[in-house]
Amino acid sequence: MATYFVRRLIQAIPIVIGISVISFLIVYLTPGSPVDKFRTPRVSPEMIQNLIRLYGLDQPLPIQFWNWFTHFWSFPWDNLAWGYSFTDGRPVRDKIFQRIPSTLLLMGTSLVVSVIFAIPIGILQAVKQYSWADRLITTFETIGYAMPTFWLGLILKQFFAVNLKWLPLYGQNSLGKQGDIPDMILHLILPVTTLAVVSIAGWSRYMRASMLEVLRQDYVRTARAKGLSSGRVIGRHALRNALIPIVTLLGLTIPSLLSGAAITETVFSWPGLGWLGVQSVGERDYPVVLAVTMIGGMMVIMGNLLADVLYAVVDPRIHY
């Protein structure tokens, strides 16, 4: 297991380099230069030249990439490692690290909520396949899955925050209530619901399909032939097997939560990494954009690795 883990980490290196090159190129090849916004009549051409030198923009492309890349991976990261934000001059590292807890809170909560609802729903549907309950839930799932998160977020906002005024409209805390837990939970409800509705729709469909697949298997028939109750056949024999692909998928979808969260965070002004990314793109704050993209890429790689590890944990047939 350990050697497999190390081998996978080594295999990830070229992918990390690939992600770095592509992200860097997109930013670099973008028309216009980061110093363009300083080009006003009040800034002299010499000062612009100084800025260009300061940012290292006069260096050849490979050197610029190398400088950025080596700095990016200089662990432990100092203030300089990820550069400074173009908008407020703070170290990018600080801006990112400040946002990570909020994103983890939102993503983690919605993931837990989704799984808690989706798995029993999927089991119910599979066991009662083609019943009216299954058909009804399938209809809801289909609509839920087709619903764009930002639109659902808007609807929920309009209904619960604007019309009913039950829940706060945006943010992580009300003004002057920083760190107040009950207040934060109130703020969490709408964005978590938004993310959860869509993922419950997706997960329960997977769970239903996985369970139906398992219920067809010979070993389920064996379990029935033993005289076990259907509760035990489903809850023990079938469920353990049906969860195997789900757990794997879980690892694979964690990274996609980031882009899902980016939109939801923006809709609800949730101060997470996704919203930071969206804002920074708009402000052309390249160092921040690069860092967010890189973290997104790392999450994909880690998610894949996590999926493999989880797979080995839940399936006794897998040995690395």
Binding site: I15, I22, I26, I143, P148, W151, Q158, V300
Partner: protein
């Protein structure tokens, strides 16, 4: 017991027992007839096809008869005007006919969806077929490239491209290209898998034995067979592309007013949360209909095209 010699095989009269007119002909069908039959039997799939056709028709027909109505402001009209046949959804705060604007937005979405998926299918087929046909080290390298693209945070990348380049080039073109160049990996993997299977199949081996060139084998024999999974991936891809466009425009980076898009109509509707609560439903429901139609059709095609389902159907 008496022997069985009294009757010999074949001795019996052929009249009664060998009524071959009853032999069932169900199994004698071509692949495409079977696909069609399976598809037509799937009510959800047919519904998807019908719904998508209606949407496509609306997106062509209504902007055509509406002319400039989708962006013409008329300050004598406003949200309080009663709805009418010519303005079934009323007018917005600038006096623009909401229905025609919605149809124009739908047109934008469908154009983006269609062309983005075309790029996805094109790159995916080319990449996957070369990778699968050549195999070996080339295949390995190409699959590592797929891994890299898959590991990129797709939505962010599209967002970056659209935000950074969209101000120079037409944002519609940038959105199409951005979705296209980030979204082709699934199609490529499907085509590659199909090619790996076909490469060893009898008819390709036969073509090779007859001296057909590689490019001829790929284009004439293998690509047509590999098109089924691409068709499915492309149909399902329309839904993704349309939602991505809407999200980009909603965030303010994609299609910007005065151009119409389902996404920027939502952004606009946000400012009228209190007074015009229905405004966010028009583009939202249109979006959901497109997504539903494309996924029903895509799922239905997948089920119909899967040869393994022959027995169950």
């Amino acid at each position: 017991m008496a022997s069985t010699e009294t009757i010999r095989p074949g001795e019996a009269s052929p009249a009664g027992a060998t009524d071959f007119d009853e032999v069932d002909l169900v199994s004698v069908q071509t692949y495409w007839q079977l696909v069609r039959r399976r598809f037509m039997r799937n009510r959800t799939a047919v519904f998807g096809l019908v719904l998508l056709s209606i949407l496509v028709f609306s997106a062509i027909f209504f902007p055509f008869i509406g002319g400039d109505a989708w962006h013409l402001t008329d300050l004598t009209r406003g949200p309080t005007d009663p709805i009418s046949i010519t303005a079934p959804l009323g007018y917005d705060n600038l006096g623009i006919n909401i229905f025609f604007r919605l149809m124009k937005g739908l047109q934008t979405s469908l154009i983006i969806g269609f062309f983005a998926v075309l790029i996805i299918a094109g790159i995916g087929t080319a990449f996957g077929s070369i990778s699968g046909y050549v195999g070996g080290k080339v295949d390995n390298l190409m699959m590592r490239i797929v891994d890299v693209v898959l590991s990129l945070p797709g939505f962010f990348l599209i967002l970056m491209l659209v935000a950074f380049i969209g101000s120079v080039v037409s944002p519609m073109v940038v959105i199409i290209v951005a979705i296209g160049i980030t979204g082709w990996t699934t199609a490529a993997r499907l085509v590659r898998a199909e090619f790996l299977r076909l490469r060893e199949s009898d008819f390709v081996q036969a073509a090779r034995a007859l001296g057909a060139s590689d490019s001829r084998i790929i284009i004439r024999h293998m690509v047509p067979s590999a098109m089924a999974p691409v068709l499915v991936a492309a149909t399902l891809g329309i839904a993704d592309a349309v939602v991505t466009e809407a999200a980009l425009s909603f965030l303010g980076y994609g299609i910007k007013p005065p151009d119409a898009s389902l996404g920027n109509m939502l952004t606009g509707a946000q400012d009228y949360f209190y007074r015009q609560p229905l405004w966010i439903y028009y583009p939202g429901i249109t979006l959901i209909l497109v997504v539903l139609a494309a996924s029903f059709l895509g799922d239905g095609l997948r089920d119909a095209l899967d040869p393994r389902q022959k027995l169950e159907a």
